[in-house]
Amino acid sequence: MDLQFLSAGLAIGLGAIGPGIGVGLLVMGALQAIGRNPEAAPEIRTNMILGIAFAEAIAIYALVVALVLKFV
């Protein structure tokens, strides 16, 4: 079989695990912080989104690898 497709699928599938957990932890922390200190919600939300962007970048690297495997 074509191992290319298998590897591409595995790359993005496995690569998404870490960022998934990371984003979950980030949002958990942010929500707890907002729960404790609702006045700071806008600031926390902005920083949470930035943090998610950084965590998500890892998944994007996996996506790039998957795309390279599939198309290149």
Binding site: L67, V68, F71, V72
Partner: protein, 164 residues
Amino acid sequence: MEALGFNAGFLLAQIVNFVVLLVLLRMFLYRPILNMLEQRRERIRESLEAAERARQEVVQSQKAYEDELAKARREAQQIIERAREAAERQKEEILAEAREQARQLIARAEEEIAYERQQAMAQLREEVAQLSLEIAQKVIGHALSEAEHRQLIRQFLAEVGESR
């Protein structure tokens, strides 16, 4: 890289496109709107300051009015006080003057009385002497000598003085 879609020409086109868009938006969107916001902020600041100034002025004029009022009241009080003092003083003066005058009148009257009495006394004495002289002349029938007269008068006067 080709397979991912990289193409130097397109990349350059997108960069140029972005720079042009940035310049245009800066000219036609950001500058007018930021200027407008700045202008409005300035306007709001000015009107707030004007309002503050007006409030200050009102407070100041209120204060000035109250000061003026208090001053006027104080002055009126002073005037009344001064008038009262003047009247009091005048009363005292008038009274003192009156008393003085009365005293002077009394003194003068007394003086006059004393003078009159002395006058009367002298006159009386004169008349008594005259009278007694005439009486004596009548009694004796002729005039006594000067010396005898003098002797007689002195004697009489001494008697009269004693009798008094």
